[in-house]
Each structure stands twice: as C-alpha cells, then as structure tokens.
C-alpha cells in the first residue's frame, strides 16, 4: 500500500466522519423536569427548544394537528391574533407562549393543559417563534405545511423583528 493511497483513504474516512460531528441530538421523550411554573422567565427548556430544528419541525406538525391554524392561520391571523408580527398580547418569550398554550387566554384561546404533553407545548412554542423570524435560519424546516405563493422560509432573507416601543407602534400607519 503506497503512502499516497493511505493518505487519500485517511482523508476520505475523515470526510465521512465529519458530518456526524454537527448532528443535534433528538430528544424524543422530553426531559422529566417538574411542571413549569407559569410566568417564570428563564426556564432552562426555553434555550433547549428554541432554535432546535427537530423541535421546530415537530411544533410545525402540532400547529396543524391541534388546529392552531383554524384561528391564527399560518401566522397571519384571522379569528385569532397574528403570530408573525412583533406584537404579543401576552408576551412573546418561549415561557410566555407555553404559558398561553397551557392556560388559554380570554376571548377564545383554549387551554391545552393535559391535552398536550409538556414537551409538545414547548415544541409548539418553538415553532410559533419561527413565525416572526426569531430563530436561526439553519434550524428552520425546509417543508411548509400550508399553501403558499412565496419561497420556503429557509430561502427568505429574514431578520429578527425589531422590538418597538408602544409609542412607535401607535405612530406606525396601519
């Protein structure tokens, strides 16, 4: 075996091994953490679920399965408020979205407490955050579950929505 052959095969093996370095692990079951306390910001799960490709993709499934699109459409809103803008009636952080899903909100948002598992709510929240372009581009799912006349979200030039002050919100033309 020539040294050149050896070098080439070593390089090939390294190339095959490289892609396995960057795989994120799929947490199928959800960590058995205690029930989260409503309203608390800084839950360790927020960082775990947000921006995780697997969890976002699962959340996208549940979004349709649980008929979120029935009221919120695919982010644009309808009977329910839109989810793709920077306005959040009950807060737009991961913890607050999970809280909204779990507890329900006045004027129609039902409670999914004990209808969805804790993990499913976090996955849904992770997906809802993607609607307003909060997460990393490379974690967004390539597929779209809705009919659309725009390019897939992964191809869009998207930037995080800037937080505006209430005064600026009012000044903005509607």
């Amino acid at each position: 075996m020539s040294s050149r052959f050896r070098a080439v095969s070593a390089a090939l093996i390294a190339m095959v091994a490289l892609p396995s370095c960057d795989r994120e692990t799929r947490e199928n079951r959800g960590k058995p953490l205690p029930e989260s306390v409503p309203g608390i910001v800084g839950d360790p799960r927020a960082a775990e679920y947000e921006g995780n490709a697997f969890h976002i993709a699962q959340g996208q499934r549940y979004y349709v399965w649980m008929n979120c699109n029935g009221c919120h459409a695919h982010g644009g809103g309808g009977m329910g408020p839109p989810l793709m803008d920077a306005e959040w009636r009950y807060g737009g952080s991961m913890e607050q979205i999970v809280d909204t899903i779990r507890e329900g909100r006045p004027n129609g948002m039902p409670s999914f407490d004990q209808k969805l598992s804790e993990q499913q709510m976090w996955q849904l929240a992770a997906f809802v955050r993607t609607l307003s372009a909060q997460p990393r581009q490379d974690a967004l799912p390539g597929r779209a579950d809705e009919m659309s006349n725009i390019e897939p979200r992964t191809l869009d030039e998207r930037r995080p929505v800037e937080r505006t002050s209430p005064a600026a919100d009012q000044a903005r033309p509607r």
């Binding site: 799929r26 199928n28 079951r29 959800g30 058995p32 699962q58 499934r61 399965w65 649980m66 999914f112 004990q114 209808k115 969805l116 598992s117 993990q119 499913q120």
Partner: protein
C-alpha cells in the same frame, strides 16, 4: 463464493415465510406480473445462451494463418442468411416482449370494475390510515394499519399521503404504488387466495420506515361482511371500574386530542382510530403483535417502543395506565 453462500441462503430463506413474498402470486395482478417476469426470463435467457454459444464457438475455432485458410466456397451467401436470421430473431423476441408487457400492463391499469370495494388509504409517518368508503357516509369504516379483503372481489384503493412520499406494497397481491403528498394515486387488487399477508412501505420515509407495515387479511365474503358489520358498531361503554378509570382518562386527557373512539367524545383525527383497536393483529403499524403486554409498553413509553413516532411520551401514573389498557382491551 463460499463466504457468500450463507448470505445467499439467508436471502432465499426470507422468501419462504410467504406472508410477504414477491413470488406469492396470491393476487390477480401479482400473478400476471409473475408470468410476465417468467416470459422475460425465458426470452432473455435464450438470447443470452445463444450469444454465449457463438462467443464460445468463436474462441474455440482458432483463427489460423492466412496461408492455412482453405479457399472460400460460397461462404458469403450463407453468412448473409445467418445475419438475416439473427436480425429476424431479435426483432421477433423484442416484439414479443413488448406485446407481453403491453397486455400485462393494460390488464393491471384497466378500467375499474363497477363492483369494486372502495378503500382510501392515507399514509402517515409511520402508519396507514384506512377508510372503507361507502355511498352512505354513516357506513364508512375507519381503521388503521390493517386491510380486510374478500377473496375474488376487486378492490380499488385510493392512495394519499399526509407528509412525505410513501409506497403501498403488498407483494403477494400486487406491485408497488407510491403515495405522493398533494396527489391522489390508486391501485386495483384482486386477491385470489385466502390468507394473512403483510404489506410494507416500500419508499424510505424516515426514522421508522421499517416499522410501517400493513396487516392484510384475505377472507371469504361472509367473514368479511361480519368484520365490516363489527367495525360499524360504536365502542361499548366501559363495564368494570378499572375500565371506567381508563375511559375517563382517555376522554379528558391527552389521548382524545389525537385519537378517535366512535361512540365517545374522543374525536381526534390525526392519529389511528382506536374504536376497534383490540380486534387488530398488531400495534404500532406491525411493530408488535397485539397483546396486553405490548399495549402496556406502548402506552407507558411509545418512544421506547418505536423511537421517533409521533405519539408523545405522556408519563401516565400506574393506576391510569392499568385503566387505559383495561379499557382499550374492551374495544374489540
């Protein structure tokens, strides 16, 4: 070669089991395709052997030196005759194969018989949603991961997919047909022999592609009709206190958000219908045979039983688990 032998033997053994066999020929169409395959095999083998024979003859008949070669004695005409014969033979063979494949194809894709049983199968990651359609909507049956077919009656199956491309394949009965998201494809089967068969998704569709099987039961018309009538019945009310616990859990908690049980408030449509789950042969799309132990394992932690499937880990308390299994076992 000697090292290869055990592997080849293993490949051959798989075909012995019979429930999932491409050479079964238990359906009209798979029978036709088996004959088509045989015709192709015979014709191509004949031509292969002919060519090899000529090659061997050419190698054996050494080419002598020019001065040793005897004088030509009208060889040109004979050679031309042989060439014409060869071309005619090839043309005949190819025409024959084309005709055989055309007729066999036309028979498989032919008009849908009017008396066909109509079924709609929707593939999901990783299970089959089965609906027996009926002109009377109330007579529509919904089940999952199983098909019951009467022997000798044509069946027209409409195929859809909810997520990725799958492929519907019951090798004993017919060839494959892909299920493509956003499109409707179809396949017609005519089972010829009673028996238990196994269908399998034949297009890689994700983590649990291998555990996406379909139990097919081909049975006499009377048995089929009895099955159909039993499937139309709504779920009986829970009888024992334990089953009542399970019933209450299913109706008020996570289960009913996705699963449907006819005759109860549970009406989720995104997961397999549980109205007659205890009457099925397997759970988890052929992952486990139906039994109390496997039901326990599945409900306690679906992610250990079939990692990646879309039934979430709920974490039931022991008394809830006992109740849910007790209730599900009454759903015959």
């Amino acid at each position: 070669m000697r090292r290869l032998l055990p592997g080849l033997a293993a490949v051959a053994l798989v075909a012995c089991e019979g429930r999932q066999s491409v050479t079964g020929g238990d359906g009209l169409h798979s029978g036709q395709f088996n004959s088509l395959f045989l015709i192709f095999l015979l014709v191509t083998a004949f031509f292969y052997l002919l060519v090899i024979a000529f090659l061997v003859a050419a190698v054996v008949r050494r080419r002598g030196r020019a001065e040793d070669r005897p004088e030509k004695s009208g060889g040109e005409g004979g050679f031309r005759l042989i060439l014409i014969g060869w071309v005619a033979l090839v043309a005949l063979g190819l025409t024959g194969l084309t005709a055989a494949s055309y007729f066999s194809d036309a028979a498989a894709g032919g008009a849908r018989p009017a008396n066909a049983i109509r079924i709609a199968v929707t593939a999901n990651q990783w299970w089959w949603d089965v609906r027996y359609l009926d002109p009377v909507p109330a007579n529509t049956i919904r089940t999952a991961n199983e098909l019951h077919l009467p022997v000798g009656v044509p069946v027209h199956i409409q195929l859809k997919s909810n997520d990725v491309i799958h492929s519907f394949w019951v090798p004993n009965l017919a060839g494959k047909q892909d299920l493509i998201p956003g499109r409707i494809t179809d396949i017609t089967l005519i089972p010829r022999k009673e028996g238990l068969y196994r269908g399998q998704c034949a297009e890689f569709c994700g983590l649990q592609h291998a555990h996406m099987a379909l139990d097919v039961t081909v049975e006499p018309m009377e048995t089929f009709e009895a099955w159909r009538r039993s499937q139309l019945r709504p779920a009986p009310p829970p009888a024992t206190p334990l089953a009542v616990t399970g019933y209450n859990y299913i109706m008020t908690q996570e289960c009913s958000a996705c699963h449907n049980i006819s005759g109860t408030p549970a009406s989720g449509q995104v997961a397999p219908d549980l109205t007659h789950i205890a009457s099925r042969r397997s759970i988890g799309a052929g992952t486990f045979p139906m039994s109390r132990g496997h039901l326990y394992a599945w409900i306690a932690d679906p992610q250990s039983a079939k990692p990646g499937n879309h039934m979430p880990y709920v974490g039931l308390e022991p008394h809830e688990l006992h109740g849910v299994v007790a209730y599900l076992e009454t759903l015959k």
